[in-house]
């Protein structure tokens, strides 16, 4: 049942295998087994202690089973307890020897001391040996009727243990209905609570096969049962209260007066010092009032103070659990918490996982009146010694800028970040400025002035470098040095390890070329040559595509690569609202802490079949399906990535728009893509283009300084492949996917 965990692994040299010690113990136990000398119990205690301590550190002491059982004939309760613990641990692996214990356990079940009866019954049910179930039924039956509540408490859990060993034995003995009776009549609330736990488990498991069980399970949330439990709620221990409250959330009251009665009754639970009780109560309140908008909002107002108190009292771990729930509520209804923003300020000594939640909350609650203060505070964190948090603070500022108010001031701050000369600050800020420009192109003038001053040599992180390059390409007409910076970047092509950056560089050089052809001509030639020779297949493809489309028609190329852009109005959300609702339904559970619904982290056996199919259904519904899948994948990522996703996701989209080359066929919504596709198709179907009208080709080669000898000529097989391409889109895509593999191999060979 427990520690011998490590016993299976081979004993490490540093840890004694304990073999000689165990045989030593065996000998000593034997000597004591029959002894009735005074003080023998004390020596036994010492020996037993040794056995248990070996067991805990993982030494296998199962060979002592016989001796331990022999020594257990004692009236000393401490000895008995140690013996029970031992037997419970090893019975499963020693079923034959365990049979020896049945006798004395059964006898103890009839002891006159209720303490002994309870202990023996608990141990008897903990043996977990399927052959023994027949020995359990009798003692359990009388245990449930015992006059002592301790024994009944143990017996109820014993029934559940029996159910897990042999469900049929348990059901055949009619134990569930006895438990039901006890639940509704026992004077001891812990007995009642245990009955409730046991019945919930048993009936949920049975419900899939038995209609009666599923009816019984439904009956647990019927009005009489709920009212009976609610009326006794103050008698229950704080832990049992949580159990009852969880059950109450499933109850559907018939009218609003019932709702108010229940809330009235539970109101004072919100003042409980135990966070679990408070959260369970809050869940009841939130669920009861879901359909009553006004009251629901009042509930938020009411629970705010108790939640904040819990967050600031107790251990960091406890406050984290509560804070996660507060986070969920803040994200749902930021406006209700907007005046409490100061509570979400980070303290310097808080662990990162707490700071991260707080940063998200600060971002969410920002509005007209508090944005200035929040952004000021976030800027303090940007200079923080804790670099990951500093980065996220900067992202938070950016997010506020993207969705909130007072953009003017925030842009100034972001630009100040760029001037801080800390490389990670610069990196984050660049990414943000890029996103910002995509939403507010009108700011380009101010931003460009600052961005232009940044030396690309100081920017090393791929994301930041890509952002900088994107801006250089996009705003090359306003940035004096843009072609030259790009050119120097192109010259260092081989030192650039990130494919993402190289892709952006290709596109940026193209854009720059359309705007300032004479200055960029050289750079474009070098870039295309380097790109076509690149071993990364995406880079290679994009370069080749640009090359060909330029050959075909420069103005078409411009329409494809640098179409007029519309400002992004809303950046995509990380999580679908459906997933958020699901998490909200699972309030006061791990789903809230992990920020994903339970089906994403609980394995099938611990999830009802109902929920699983439910989930599948959702995914296959209608046009949002793809969206859901994306969110589901997103959610899988860890917290840090979650923060990233908005910008990242956009980034990928951005790149697909910038150089629509190869992701285009998958994204049918963009007009430029349609244009692109038709062009490709016509290009390919057009024999002249495909055949390389030699003149056109030479002309463009000349223009770019791309003399055939200088650039490795595109190997001929690929062209043939292209000419033979069928125009049916799916076939086309299929080919398109196969093509690069062959090509890049050829390229590698030629190098």
């Amino acid at each position: 049942m427990a520690p011998p965990a490590q016993s299976q692994r081979s004993p490490s040299p540093s840890q004694p295998s304990g073999k000689s010690e165990v045989s030593d113990l065996k000998l000593q136990l034997r000597q004591l087994a029959g002894s009735r000398a005074p003080g023998v119990d004390d020596s036994k205690r010492e020996l037993f202690k040794k056995v248990i301590s070996y067991m805990t550190v993982g030494i296998d002491v199962s060979s002592l089973f016989g001796e331990m059982v022999m020594c257990s004939a004692t009236s000393d309760i401490v000895l008995k307890k140690m013996c029970y613990l031992y037997v419970g641990n090893y019975a499963k692996v020693n079923p034959d020897l365990a049979l020896l214990t049945i006798n004395f356990l059964q006898r103890d079940c009839n002891d006159e001391d209720p303490m002994i009866r309870g202990l023996a019954l608990r141990s008897l049910c903990s043996l977990r040996v399927a052959n023994f179930v027949e020995y359990l039924v009798g003692p359990l039956g009388s245990g449930l009727k015992d006059s002592n509540s301790y024994v009944r408490m143990v017996a109820v859990i014993g029934v559940l243990k029996l159910y897990h060993i042999s469900a049929s034995t348990c059901v055949d003995a009619d134990f569930p209905s006895i438990l039901k009776h006890l639940m509704l009549n026992d004077s001891d609330t812990q007995v009642v609570a245990n009955c409730l736990s046991a019945l919930q488990e048993i009936w949920s498991a049975e419900a899939s096969t038995s209609e009666e069980a599923s009816r019984e399970r439904e009956a647990l949330i019927s009005k009489p049962v709920i009212y009976y439990l609610l009326n006794r709620i103050r008698e229950f221990s704080e832990w049992a209260q949580c159990l009852v409250l969880e059950l109450v959330t499933k109850y559907v009251p018939s009218d609003s007066s019932e709702i108010f009665d229940i809330m009235n009754l539970l109101e004072d639970r919100l003042q409980h010092a135990n966070g679990a009780v408070v959260l369970a109560t809050i869940k009841v309140f939130l669920h009861l009032t879901l359909s009553m908008t006004d009251v629901h909002q009042q509930v938020y107002e009411r629970i705010k103070a108790p939640l904040l108190t819990l967050v600031s009292s107790g251990s960091p771990e406890q406050s984290y659990a509560v804070l996660s729930h507060l986070h969920l509520l803040v994200m749902r209804a930021p406006y209700i918490f907007s005046s409490d923003y100061k509570h979400f300020y980070c303290q310097y000594n808080e662990p990162s996982y707490v700071k991260r939640l707080k940063l998200e909350m600060l971002t969410a609650v920002a509005n007209e009146s508090n944005t200035y203060e929040i952004v000021t505070e976030l800027c303090e964190y940007a200079a923080n010694v804790d670099i990951p948090i500093a980065r996220e603070s900067i992202r938070a500022v950016g997010k506020i800028a993207l969705q909130q108010y007072d953009v003017n001031a925030i842009v100034d701050r972001l630009l100040q970040f760029l001037e801080m000369e800390k490389d990670y600050v610069t990196a984050e800020a660049l990414v943000l400025v890029k996103d910002l420009l995509r939403k507010y192109p009108q700011w380009s003038h101010d931003c460009i002035a600052v961005v232009g001053n940044i030396s690309s040599k100081n920017v090393q992180e791929p994301k930041a470098k890509a952002a900088l390059i994107w801006m250089l390409g996009e705003y090359s007409q306003d940035m004096q040095d843009a072609p030259y910076i790009l050119e120097s970047l192109v010259e260092n092509w081989d030192e650039e390890h990130s494919a993402e950056v190289r892709l952006h560089l290709l596109t940026a050089v193209m854009k720059c070329f359309f705007k300032r052809p004479p200055e960029t001509q050289n750079a474009l030639g070098t870039a295309l040559a380097a790109g076509i020779a690149d071993f990364h297949q995406d880079v290679h493809d994009r370069a080749l595509f640009y090359y060909r489309i330029l050959q075909y028609n420069v103005s078409v190329a411009e329409r494809v690569v640098n179409p007029p852009k519309q400002a992004v109005s809303v950046f995509a959300d990380t999580q679908s609202s459906e997933i958020k609702d699901r998490i909200f339904d699972e309030f006061n559970s791990l789903s809230v802490v992990y920020q994903k619904p339970s089906y994403m982290f609980t394995d099938k056996e611990h999830r009802g079949p109902f929920e699983f199919s439910d989930e599948l259904g959702n995914l296959s519904i209608g046009g949002e399906a793809a969206d859901n899948v994306v969110s589901a994948q997103r959610v899988e990522e860890n917290d840090k990535d979650l923060l990233l996703t908005t910008s990242e996701k956009e980034e990928t989209r951005g790149s697909s728009n910038n150089g629509s080359a190869y992701t285009a066929p998958y994204d049918g919504s963009s007009t430029s893509v349609f244009a692109l596709q038709t062009h490709i198709e016509s290009a390919i179907s057009n024999p002249t283009a495909a055949d390389h009208s030699p003149q056109a080709s030479l002309a463009i080669d000349d223009l770019l300084g791309l003399g055939l000898p200088a650039a490795p000529a595109p190997p001929s097989p690929q062209l043939k492949l292209n000419t033979t391409a069928a125009l049916d889109p799916s076939t086309f895509q299929h080919k398109w996917r196969q093509l690069p593999v062959a090509l890049s191999q050829v390229c590698l060979n030629t190098q």
Binding site: Q6, I52, L85, A276, T309, V592
Partner: protein, 450 residues
Amino acid sequence: MISQFFVLSQRGDNIVFRDYRGEVVKGSAEIFFRKVKFWKEDGQEEAPPVFNVDGVNYFHVKVVGLLFVATTRVNVSPSLVLELLQRVARVIKDYLGVLSEDSLRKNFVLVYELLDEVIDFGYVQTTSTEVLKSYVFNEPIVVDAARLQPLGPAAIFMQGTKRMPGTAVTKSVVANEPGGRKREEIFVDIIEKISVTFSSSGYILTSEIDGTIQMKSFLTGNPEIRLALNEDLSIGRGGSVYDYRSSSGAGVVILDDCNFHESVRLDSFDMDRTLALVPPDGEFPVMNYRMTQEFKPPFRISCLIEEAGHLKAEVILKVHAEFPSNITANTIVVQMPLPKYTARASFELEPGAIGQRTDFKEVNKKLEWGLKKIVGGSEHSLRAKLTFSQESHANITKEAGPVSMTFTIPMYNASRLQVKYLQIAKKSSSYNPYRWVRYVTQANSYVARI
């Protein structure tokens, strides 16, 4: 519902391991420890208290360097399990007097006995120290408390001040005193953790007091107790907007919110601010409260950084104690991150400084200044000369700070919340147990930006 419970030492050894349901792999303790130890490669980030590995959810709390862990496969309430772990630690401490690796190892059989009764098949049965008394038969083996790291906020009474009997916090609820007779006594501690953030110009940006009235009773026969707080105490502010101007005249204590232990009856609380309760055995919080009302911060911090020539700078730190001179703060530590390119720091203490130490932590470039005590009304200062390894382009103040401070001030409470009287229902005229009401204020997050 939990599946396993175990306690690991700092090195990852199992001290106690109990499997309640056999649903989780046996090697879970190792999996857990490896995950916690190597959470992020750079070792900079702590593992969160809850995480999932291969469908198993691991919960842990850290108490005196030990890891109290629970596992489960079910989607349970994280609050419930984390509260439970904390409570188990407290119950064990109630029994052992001192919670430490040593005391746990010496008493692990007793701990197993407790665990058997606290949780059955993964379901919590009881965490009441008192109820458990009737099920637990092992006598605790008391370890020498003096050598050990104290546990919990109340433990500060063991340090420094001799006014308080230090034994209380390390006394087991079941062990008998050497004389064989138990002393009738009750401890009420008002523990306040304060958080203050000063802006670079010295204004208070945020401030909060998180307080607990903690009780530890060694009274026999469960007498009822009445605890009277400030009569003019008021709870709940109109909305929870921070508004420092609204704090009304002197003397009135306004709490934002508070919560109470299960045993507390609030029948007359609204009338006369009196809590009535029959204290259970062991240590427990009677009431937790939170206050954002303006209060006078106990320390003012000022910090000045100046360039002092090529690759050199000077930092002058000043701490001024704003509390009365009959009160003394102890174990004060002032910390300040210095620019990353700081190579050396030399310190100059004020003349005649006693019990002060200074340190420059090379690894994280931190200045540390420790003071054994600070008497109310006094001011202390430190001068640090920094040498840089490279030219700084930016403003040095942007590269350094903020200054943070930790301290403990016994017999001082920032909120002015008071226990006016502690009344114990008398059993006989000669019954007069010892009553200890103690106050202490600690820094939670005390930060001055520069």
